[in-house]
Amino acid sequence: MTILRHRLFWPAAVLVVLLISNLVFSDNFFTIRLQDGHLYGSLIDILRRSAPLVLVALGMTLVIATGGIDLSVGSVMAISGALACLLIGDLSNPDALGPVLLVVGAAIALCLVAGLWNGFLVAVLGIQPIIATLILMVAGRGVAQLITGGQILNVHSAPYRVIGAGYFLALPVSFLIATAAVALTVALTRRTALGLLLESVGGSPTASRLAGIRSRRITIMVYVFAAGFAGVAGLIYSSDVSSADSNAAGNLIELNAILAVVLGGTALTGGRFSIAGSVLGAVVITTLDITAVSVGVPVETTLLFKAVVVIILCLAQSATFRAKVFGRFSAERADVQRADVQRADVQTADVQRSDVERSDVPG
């Protein structure tokens, strides 16, 4: 029963349930075919379509670890796609690799500047992160519109299309990009001391400063990081549809990303963070979107369906809730209640500890 205590057990369980329920509705859900040297199938599709959310969730995880939040990631995605498509449209030969790479670099650079702006507002001017990033969330789409001149820009560039829709070694390039980003983030936070310092700043900014940590620099860094990853996600999205749509790109992705981070076990109050958790959270959310379509949930109720599953998952993750529901069948009810109070008292502490004995009660 120890596995039940693991932070990622419930998100993983929901993922499995979603995948199995897909099987019921489409027999060949787990089939993976190799065609023209590319892997195809629903599972591959999930990996491919998770990529932008995984990227955005990675940045969001680090921002949240410092106790902040970044609402502007969706707008940054729009900006990145808009600039890339505008510049590619101006290229004399949009199929040449070199110029396209330059364009991609320029788009990401602009996003890094956007991240610097967010970091400046939060760390230097001391504006609350939710407000500071709200500015760019609102203004960013305007900037993107400005870049595209209010149009949806369509582009035809083979190299550009590879980012979002291409394959390499039989795997979707977007999936490979996301995998590389995850590896980079893990290396950056756990192979260096950055992760520790981040958690320290998120855990207590005052104590961190007195311990000599340059919290301002670290804070700016995570916002730049988040915007950079959002920029790459924007390129994937825009490349996949071969156009820049300033309104649709990254719409509401900030909320999905926050949800992914929270499902993955990182608290919004900052401090300890889990990259694996956020990645799992992002995959769960994407699978949920795909499942809604494949099981035939009517389009108008898709969001409702999603909400219901998320609520169930959150309740399953809540130790207090499980104790309440399952405690009813327990003879030692008083024990459970007492444990509840204790837990409420040390909310932030390791709440899972006293769960073991309770988890086997319902059976």
């Binding site: 192979r191 260096t192 001391a193 950055l194 520790l196 310092l197 958690e199 320290s200 855990g203 207590s204 005052t206 104590a207 961190s208 400063r209 007195l210 311990a211 000599g212 940590i213 340059r214 670290i218 401090g271 300890r272 008083a334 024990d335 209640q337 007492r338 444990a339 109070v341 204790q342 008292d345 932030t348 502490a349 390791d350 500890r353």
Partner: protein
């Protein structure tokens, strides 16, 4: 006699994963007595209180309140049964008003809505009982920590309490405020309230308590009448050995003379910050322990923070090794070999959710920068060394630091700074709220460090401690450094007290 006990706990047992926190403890409280619960940190005092107030369940034993067996499912139930608690750390909402804090959760109502005027009126009456004249609609954090503590007590006594538990209520109060609190306690005692009092200040315990129960390592040592247990014997019972160690330091540090005066490590010339501390001159040499004495709020902490760059000075200059330096931030100070362990260890010192290991290496890691992580094996070596050297308990580096007792958290902080091998260590109230044994260990450590050539600026509200350790004592009053005393036979607590009180003109 035993039958009259308002509260009786028998054979209480509480087990945490891996630890027996309480092992068959008996405890009783008589109406109209002040009963001190004594023991070192980790002896089980806090656990016993939490069991009593329903925060924790028990794994064995019985609790009787007024003769009835009780089992509280939570603090609220305990409160309703007449057991009120004021915890060590002020447990109020700083952003709410004084009146709201007193009545939170049980606001007087009228037609289902909060009856604000009655609430404010009753709050003012209550505070008047404590001889406090506050604006009850002012936000709580506009008052000092001491006043906030009094508000917490006001809140506790308003709930018609049969049993009032005061867990380290005096640790942030100055002498006159302690007297004020004691007056209130005596009045409540005369009203028949049973008061459970926990304090590390033995003098206070002897002043106020009628009886005491001593715990050690989760076990019951005994119940005593205060008048019949001399202070030294009490200490011996608490730590389980004689306190020769403490006395040893005494002679030692005082006799040690700092010979080579030479260039001071640090010299402040007219350093000051408006509204915080008046300009002061101060020199600290290698191997010297400089004590800062003064009342709460006299500017001790402010002076220390200025030297470390935690606050920025707005006038004067600071010389390090005789050369002028600007220290604008803690990092600047660290790069010049200055370390600072702050007064408020829970909010400014430790980072609760990180482990003991991570907390210990934090300052060293910060100094190296994030790109140069300390290899894990090196971390483990360092942490292991200091956990052993400072006897940090439990000796589990991967445990969250917030699970440790106050004394051990303080040791973690000291370890953090010793790791960076500072030349000047500033420690602000390192022994506040920690037990006698740990206190002696920390004092011994300070003496040792100074012997090894480190300069120490030691801030403490306890004069005995300052006298015992310091070569030189700086006395502060009203945010001004008023006198510098070379420690010697002619200097004693009385002498310093007079300066603090303003009776000596120098």
């Amino acid at each position: 006699m035993a039958e009259q006990a308002v509260l009786r706990m028998t054979g209480i047992k509480k087990i945490f994963p891996g630890v027996v926190a309480l092992d068959g403890v008996d405890f009783r409280l008589l109406p109209g007595e002040i009963h001190a619960l004594m023991g070192e940190n980790g002896a089980g005092k806090s656990t016993l209180i939490k069991v009593l107030t329903g925060v924790y369940g028990i794994d064995g034993g019985e609790i009787h309140l007024g003769g009835e067996p009780v089992l509280f499912a939570g603090p609220l139930q305990a409160q309703q049964a007449g057991i009120s608690t004021v915890y060590q750390e002020v447990n109020l909402c700083p952003n709410l008003s004084v009146a709201e804090n007193i009545f939170i959760g049980r606001e007087p109502r009228k037609f289902g809505r909060i009856h604000w005027s009655e609430m404010r009126g009753r709050a003012a009456d209550l505070l008047a009982r404590l001889d406090l004249d506050l604006d009850v609609s002012a936000q709580l954090d506009s008052y000092s920590l001491a006043i906030q503590q009094m508000v917490a007590i006001a809140r506790a006594i308003d709930i018609q309490a049969r049993v009032l538990i005061l867990d380290e209520p005096t640790s942030s109060l100055d002498a006159s405020e302690v007297e004020q609190l004691f007056a209130v306690m005596r009045r409540l005692k005369d009203d028949g309230v049973a008061i459970l009092f926990v304090s590390h200040f033995l003098d206070q315990v002897y002043e106020i308590a009628d009886r005491m129960t001593v715990l050690r390592n989760g076990g019951l040592i005994g119940e005593f009448t205060t008048a019949e247990l001399p202070q030294m014997q009490l200490v011996a019972k608490m730590i389980g050995k004689e306190l020769a160690a403490l006395e040893q330091i005494e002679g030692q540090a005082r006799d040690a003379t700092v010979n080579e005066r030479g260039t001071p490590i640090i010299e402040a010339r007219g350093l000051g910050r408006a509204g915080s501390i008046a300009p002061f001159n101060l020199t600290i040499h290698a191997g010297e322990v400089v004590g800062l004495a003064g009342l709460l709020g006299s500017g001790r902490t402010e002076l220390a923070r200025l030297l470390f760059g935690a606050d920025r000075a707005d006038e004067g200059e600071l010389l390090v090794d005789g050369r002028k330096k600007t220290i604008k931030a803690p990092r600047d100070a660290m790069s010049k070999g200055i370390a600072f362990s702050p007064e408020n260890r829970r909010t400014e010192g430790i980072i609760g959710e990180l482990t003991v290991r991570e907390n210990i290496i934090l300052a060293l890691q910060a100094a190296r920068g994030w790109t140069r992580p300390i290899p894990r094996r090196r971390q483990d070596e360092l942490v292991d060394k200091y956990v052993k050297a400072l006897q940090i308990r439990p000796a589990e580096p991967e445990r969250q630091v917030r699970d440790l007792s106050g004394g051990n958290q303080q040791k973690v902080l000291l370890a953090r700074w010793l790791l960076v091998e500072p030349r000047l260590l500033i420690i602000d109230e390192p022994t506040r709220g920690i037990d006698v044994g740990a206190k002696a260990e920390i004092q011994r450590l300070v003496a040792q460090l100074a012997d090894g050539g480190m300069a120490v600026l030691f801030v403490s509200a306890e004069l005995e401690e300052v006298l015992r350790l310091s070569h030189k004592i700086e006395v502060l009053r009203d945010r001004r450094l008023v006198e510098e005393l070379e420690n010697g036979d002619d200097v004693d607590a009385d002498r310093i007290m007079r300066t603090i009180a303003g009776g000596v003109t120098s």
